[in-house]
């Protein structure tokens, strides 16, 4: 038996990277997220569709049910097909899933943009077709809402924290941000922290338990995403304490924004799913069609934090209806929302 690396024979990609550019109609756009059954990721795919339409193409939507292996399976199946002019905008399930996706795309010569999750030592700049990695600064957002929370409770009192899926970078960074915020606000005390796995239902039960455990000492609830914050809101309502405890979250999903508008929630941080779904495809499309040269992309844009906004009652109205703006996706504008290079 002849053992060979999969690069030539099986990866087989005769493509693309830099060689000749594709016709716009030849480009194949793939957007992959966990599932279509939560608002954030649904808006991501919708954003992808908006972009695809704007260039007269159709986005292939893939979902993998938050199942790492299934994600890999789909990626390798996609890469086994026609990879000439393939553009993928991928949300890796966890940090560990990024490396194999990158490797596969590299070998097949498919253009790839990843978002949210990647190990720190894996850098797009070291790869030809991995164009960019986009994420939001979790430490910053965790800290922003932490600060907003401590302001809301007057800089003094106990809070509880609802963590996300423990083994994700997002959960860790955001919690690190909270810790930074706590260090700045010595009056605020973290009474307890529990994992509620980014889930509204789990957050509900955990919050109820923590509310009985700590009683009236709980002045605020810090949640690592809006779904959990919304679960916490329900728990407060059921415990008859709505309005008496400040709640913050991250993501600015529509329900959370309206809760902020109504004053039920103190703050959230916008991460714009619609934009994320379009921008990854846009970057890939621009490179594939030769409108953007990989070499021309600034080093700081190969892995960057996207701009995010703290959403409070004052500015919530602006974020109430997330809508994709095709102008954001024009090749000249694709890096407009860079807030800084990934650190």
């Amino acid at each position: 038996a002849v053992l060979t690396g999969c690069s030539e024979e099986s990866g087989g990609g005769t493509a693309a990277a830099g060689s000749e550019s594709c016709e716009s109609s030849e480009v194949r756009l793939v957007g992959q997220v966990r599932n279509e059954s939560n608002p954030y990721e649904a808006s991501w795919l919708a954003g992808g569709d908006v972009f695809a339409q704007s260039v007269g193409l159709k986005q292939e939507r893939l979902t993998y049910d938050g199942d790492s292996t299934k994600q890999q399976e789909q990626i390798s199946q996609i890469l086994a097909g026609n990879t000439k002019c393939l553009v993928m905008n991928v949300l890796p399930n966890g940090d560990s899933d990024t490396a194999p996706i990158v490797k596969g795309a590299d070998q097949a010569g498919a253009y790839l943009v990843t978002q949210w999750n990647k190990p720190a030592d894996l850098k797009p700049a070291d790869h030809k077709t991995w164009l960019s990695h986009i994420t939001y600064n979790g430490i910053e957002s965790g800290q922003q809402i932490g600060d907003a929370l401590s302001t809301a409770i007057g800089g003094n009192g106990g809070i509880i924290a609802l963590q996300g899926v423990l083994d994700t970078a997002a959960a860790k960074d955001r919690f690190a941000g909270l810790e930074a915020s706590l260090a700045k606000n010595p009056g605020v005390k973290l009474l307890d922290q529990q994992a509620a796995n980014f889930s509204r239902a789990e957050a509900l039960t955990v919050t109820k338990t923590l509310l009985t455990k700590h009683g009236d000492n709980v002045k605020g609830i810090w949640a690592a995403n809006d779904d959990m914050a919304l679960g916490a809101l329900e728990a407060l309502q059921q415990a008859g304490r709505s309005g008496k405890v400040a709640v913050v979250g991250i993501d600015a999903v529509p329900d959370a924004v309206s809760a902020v508008q109504k004053g039920d929630m103190t703050a959230t941080v916008s991460s714009d799913g619609t934009w994320q779904g379009g921008i990854g495809l846009a970057i890939g499309y621009c490179v594939a069609t030769g409108k953007l040269k990989v070499a021309d992309i600034a080093a700081g844009n190969r892995a960057f934090f996207a701009r995010q906004f703290l959403v409070t009652k004052d500015n919530a109205a602006e974020f109430a209806q997330p809508k994709a703006n095709p102008a954001d996706f024009e090749c000249g504008n694709v890096f407009n929302r860079v807030a800084g290079p990934l650190t």
């Binding site: 024979e9 199942d67 789909q74 199946q77 940090d95 560990s96 194999p100 490797k103």
Partner: protein
């Protein structure tokens, strides 16, 4: 109290019996044909290669767990054990290098054996032991990994699994098929086949015939654990990292693979070959449906419907007295 069997035994002729042995294969071919009909691009050598590579860890997981099912039990801990094994392997590779692989497989086998022993000695149903085992192993994996991904920088000792034989046959798939063949062969040429089926069909009779029922059971759990460890090696070689939940989602597909292959979940009747075919069917469903463009929601509906129909086709009703 014994009861007469009221179910009139299905009167299948020998030829029909042999035919049902091929049902899993027929299901597989039918599914391929259907997918190709929807999307002609699906039936390319590269696409099949990718599917095989994808199926490898599932084949290994299912093969090990098949033996547990043949003995009449079930192992719900395989996926969690595989996740834990990916973490251990990723942690040990830098220090141990090559020997990390056998070490992880051994540890996984030992964990499987411990669960088997708990099942046999404490007389707790395997469903409960391994359900508990699942959460315990997940917790350990979470703690050991520090709740994060463990990157493998130098994967030279496991990367051979991610190569291709002759450019098109993924090594991992070849190894998985070899493993299935090996298990099948060992079963066939040793008394193990008798012991396993006797235990699965009629445990009390097997015990009263002096069959080492307890040892056999512990043995199959041990093997199931080892297979989980080996599947973990494949995953690490493919993912370049280990993670505390990496393989968790493979549990239901693995069980589905076993059942879709036509192995009776009540024990006794079935084989690892059937699970191999079952694993391929399940893989094709998992990756094939979205790739040929079935929208996410319909994909789940189709998946659910197809596995139920597949089981209806492959399970040989005449071999299973009551279907619960």
């Amino acid at each position: 109290m014994s009861t007469p069997a009221a179910t009139r035994p299905a009167t299948v002729s020998l030829r029909a019996g042999r035919f049902t042995g091929f049902m899993p294969l027929i299901a597989l071919v039918t599914l391929m044909a259907a997918l190709t009909a929807v999307d002609p691009d699906f039936l390319t050598q590269r696409s099949l290669t990718a599917a095989l590579r994808t199926a490898a860890p599932l084949i290994v997981l299912a093969a090990g767990a098949t033996l547990v099912v043949l003995c009449g039990g079930i192992d719900l801990s395989i996926a969690a054990l595989a996740s834990l094994s990916t973490v251990l392997l990723a942690l040990w590779l830098p220090d141990l290098g090559g020997p990390a692989t056998p070490a992880v497989i051994l540890i996984a086998a030992a964990i499987g054996a411990v669960q088997g022993a708990a099942h046999v000695l404490l007389r707790i149903p395997s469903f409960i032991v391994t359900l508990g085992g699942m959460s315990i192993l997940s917790a350990i994996a979470l703690v050991v990994s520090g709740a994060g991904t463990v990157r493998v920088v130098d994967d030279s000792t496991v990367s051979w699994l991610d190569l291709y034989i002759g450019g098109f046959l993924p090594t991992s798939a070849a190894v998985a098929i070899l493993l299935v063949a090996l298990i099948a062969l060992v079963l066939k040429v040793t008394p193990l086949q008798s012991w396993v089926s006797a235990t699965g069909y009629t445990e009390s009779a097997a015990r009263l015939a002096g069959t080492p029922v307890d040892l056999v059971k512990i043995g199959v759990f041990c093997l199931s654990g080892a297979c989980a460890g080996f599947a973990a090696v494949m995953l690490v070689s493919r993912q370049f990292s280990g993670g505390p939940t990496m393989a968790d989602n493979l549990l239901l597909p693995a069980v589905a693979a076993i059942v879709v292959g036509g192995t009776a979940i009540t024990g006794g009747h079935g084989s690892v070959w059937r699970s191999l075919a079952g694993a391929l069917v399940v893989t094709l469903l998992r990756v094939g449906l979205p790739i040929v463009g079935v929208p996410s929601a319909y994909e789940q509906i189709l998946y659910g419907a197809i596995i139920v129909v597949a089981v209806a086709l492959t399970l040989d009703g005449s071999k299973v007295s009551t279907i619960k």
